[in-house]
């Protein structure tokens, strides 16, 4: 019999990343318009370090998912909704990988190497190149707004399942919401 909810590890990773990604999005949006100051340099560095952390977490999360399949969607869900749910999840994963990669490449193209927590230097996969840096900034921003829109759809769908369909989709990821009986 397949599990009826996600593993503790999967649940922990999901909510940890939810908090981290919302924080990264907020800080990333705020910091780009700041005037140059020591504070700005610090915020940029922390944003980059948190982004590397998010990348490591998503890599671990994918590996975990391969070994621990998520519970199946309820049979009551129409086929098109199941396809949409899987499609949305795939896109979320894709963006969670692509966004930190685009940030890392953008940083290199702008001439600022990423040194994880000021200790571990990540290689520059691209050299300093202003045009490429500007392009990657657009890519990074666009991918982020795409992720934000998909996250809203993801949250909306979860709430719809919980409040309107009254199924156990949300409680699989938030066990304390599980309905008795």
């Amino acid at each position: 019999m397949p599990a009826s909810r996600y593993t503790r590890t999967a649940i922990a990773l999901h909510w940890l990343m939810a908090v981290l990604l919302i924080g990264l999005f907020g800080v990333g949006t705020y910091m780009s318009d700041l005037p140059v100051s020591p504070q700005k340099l610090k915020i940029y560095s922390w944003h980059k370090w948190a982004g590397v952390t998010a990348f490591l977490l998503i890599a671990f999360r994918l590996a975990w998912r391969v070994g621990h399949r998520p519970p199946p969607l309820p049979e009551s869900m129409p086929a098109w909704q199941q396809v949409a749910a899987h499609g949305l999840h795939h896109l979320l994963y894709l963006l969670m990988i692509a966004i930190p990669l685009s940030g890392w490449l953008m940083s290199s193209a702008k001439g600022f190497q990423t040194v994880y927590f000021g200790v571990l230097p990540l290689p520059d996969l691209v050299g300093k190149d202003k045009e490429l840096g500007d392009l990657l900034k657009t890519v990074h921003t666009t991918l982020n707004y795409s992720l934000a829109a998909l996250v809203l759809a993801h949250v909306g769908a979860a709430l719809k399942h919980h409040l309107l369909d009254r199924d156990d989709i949300l409680s699989r990821m938030l066990p304390f919401l599980a309905r008795k009986g």
Binding site: V36, P38, L41, G111, F112
Partner: protein
């Protein structure tokens, strides 16, 4: 008939000495701006950032055989700075950093050049930035490439010694106090005056 032979040998010897002396006394004093570079490495949050100065002039006189007689002066146009990013370029001209309106230039004047053996030397002198003067010692190598003399050296200065980046920027955990300066100076010999 022995004396003329001695005389001939003595003449030859003195002639050889003279030309070898001439060969040694090559003095490099024609600064080649387009082949010379002045670069630096600053550190932001532990990350090295390459920068450069585009415009500087060097007046020098250097004979590798007579380093004690050397002289050098460098005049740097600080407005030609490229810190590696537009944000920082806009910032660094301001009051907290170079304060270009008041201090448009920096100068270095050599007070001594000491031989360290082989092609290695040490340059000692006074560096003035933002009205503050500090003693600087920089090891360098001198090589001849074709007709030109090439000087390659580096030293590390502390920006706060010159009041560069004061106020909020004096927090060296964001922008390090140490800045490495690297110079690559090309000079043609005096004879190659054109």
């Amino acid at each position: 008939m022995k004396k003329p032979a001695h005389l001939g040998r003595a003449l030859l010897a003195s002639f050889l000495l003279t030309i070898s002396g001439l060969a040694l006394a090559v003095e490099f004093n024609q600064f080649r701006a387009e082949q010379s570079t002045l670069t630096f490495v600053s550190r932001q949050m532990g990350v090295p950032i390459d920068g450069r100065f585009g415009k500087f002039a060097v007046a020098l006189s250097f004979d590798p055989a007579r380093p004690a007689n050397a002289s050098a002066r460098l005049d740097l146009d600080l407005a030609s700075v490229d810190t590696g990013s537009k944000d920082a370029n806009d910032e660094v001209v301001g009051k907290a950093w170079f304060n270009l309106k008041v201090f448009p230039g920096a100068t270095f004047v050599a007070t001594a050049v000491r031989p360290l053996g082989g092609e290695r030397f040490e340059l000692v002198g006074k560096l003035t930035i933002k009205g503050k003067t500090q003693d600087i010692a920089a090891p360098f190598t001198f090589r001849q490439e074709g007709a030109n003399g090439v000087f390659d050296g580096a030293f590390t200065l502390k920006r706060l010694d010159f009041g560069v980046g004061d106020g909020a920027w004096s927090d060296v955990s964001t922008v390090a106090n140490e800045v490495q300066i690297k110079f690559h100076i090309v000079a043609a010999p005096a004879a190659a005056r054109k």
